[in-house]
Symmetry: C2
Subunit: 303 residues, 2 copies
Amino acid sequence: MAQPLAGKAVAEAVQREIVAELEQCSARAGRPPGLAVIKVGCDPASQTYVASKNKLAAKLGFHSRPVELPEHTSQAELLAAIGALNADPAIDGILLQLPLPKGFDATTVVDHISPDKDADGLHPFNQGLLALGRAVVFPCTPAGVLRIIDHYAIDPTGMDVVVVGRSILVGKPAAMMLSARHATVTLCHSQTRDLAGHVSRADLVVAAAGKPGMITADMVKPGAILIDVGINHVQSEADFLRYCDPRGLESFRQKGYAITGDIHPAACEKASAFTPVPGGVGLMTVTMLMVNTLRLYRKRLGL
Amino acid sequence: MAQPLAGKAVAEAVQREIVAELEQCSARAGRPPGLAVIKVGCDPASQTYVASKNKLAAKLGFHSRPVELPEHTSQAELLAAIGALNADPAIDGILLQLPLPKGFDATTVVDHISPDKDADGLHPFNQGLLALGRAVVFPCTPAGVLRIIDHYAIDPTGMDVVVVGRSILVGKPAAMMLSARHATVTLCHSQTRDLAGHVSRADLVVAAAGKPGMITADMVKPGAILIDVGINHVQSEADFLRYCDPRGLESFRQKGYAITGDIHPAACEKASAFTPVPGGVGLMTVTMLMVNTLRLYRKRLGL
């Protein structure tokens, strides 16, 4: 009965929209949108993320500019590289892959990206526009959550929504965006006294705390909509059996690990709809980065 | 049993703190903090508010700079006046009295105030710092709410808090600030389906919707803390009897009007503590403007 809200179909639909939108406006612009992806050092996970961003940019017809700086780059050198991209007329969006190696002050560096080229929507000016209901760009993960519910014709107006986790990247902006869409939002976190009580009243739950199995079946109202932003690596068989769908045990044993969300699989069975992990919200993030870049490009060029 | 949380004592305590802080740092600075209060046109309510701001600034030893522009000022002239204050080394805080006369684009004008001199905390950059937990200045009314609860030793950590009203000036920043203080905050508004249900579970309610008597006694959990940001003018006797404390009827008949909050007096009787209207949060706002100006002054001068 519970409907899985697959992210792939939504990401593909958004990508088709981007291509169509680009066809309409890139002739007038005389150039495609330009996205610079900055990577400092050689963290292997960052390597993978950066590659997928450059690849999708190229696939959608964007100008993709990988900027790879060595591990021993100084903060002054990184700020100078950002300054050059801020001034570069071919670049509309700048993404700085986080985390930075030790020794950098990430806040100073992120704030140095021009708000007009802030593809991640994390600059204070853009966070403020978001709070004021005037955003041009939206942080990618919560923007992906909103696109998924829109795609599946879920209207949050009037719903009681519980967002679990108050991170800058996900929980806080998700709460703001869902409130702007007229949901009644409760923002829960590590100091919440009665998480189960709040979740049990929710029509829609956004779990973004990074704790496997945090939302259990007994907490969930039957028929609720469950959006799972968690991406947790499970490595022991005991944890697998505690947090994951037992039907995946064979695959777990072969691979030696599994990926699971913050919502227990048994909770998803009580839901009317849920986003799977993997295969749900996680597939949206890179696509929403392209949406932001396109929006910045159109705003800069007045298209 | 219900304790009134009087605003006057808190405002006076904060003003004493400001004077003491100023004594410590103004000698090094060689000049007092400078606050420019801009008024366009001659709305009588604005006149009163502006006068009280200039008066308190002077009382606390600030340099107070009233900037009074005629009704027929153009937007370009107003932007030029703000630009001059942005560049003026004697000015640390700029307050633009709202609402502006018709024909102005308030958003463009407010955004033109340098975030470094934004005494109201309403510039997108400062709203973003607030969302990111890095604020230097806080919107005055919710900052006053937080100072009242701090003064009366009310710790919101872990409390279930309901904020009613999602305005940029009050509800949204109050929700962010209380969440940053580790409350579990639910932000209710006009599209909330079951306001009574949410309020009935709240340990602390912040009512900021501008609707007299909106929070009634039957909604409130016995012993809750009620913070009333509403300032409503009641002009008919029928409304007075519906929304106000009947003990004030004689005074209402003499004056022809009464001021009441969003929380019904009978609800306050069920509370453990409540802010009266008038005499509660409303008395804090101008003082919090001075706190912001002092913070901007210290930040600019590195004191």
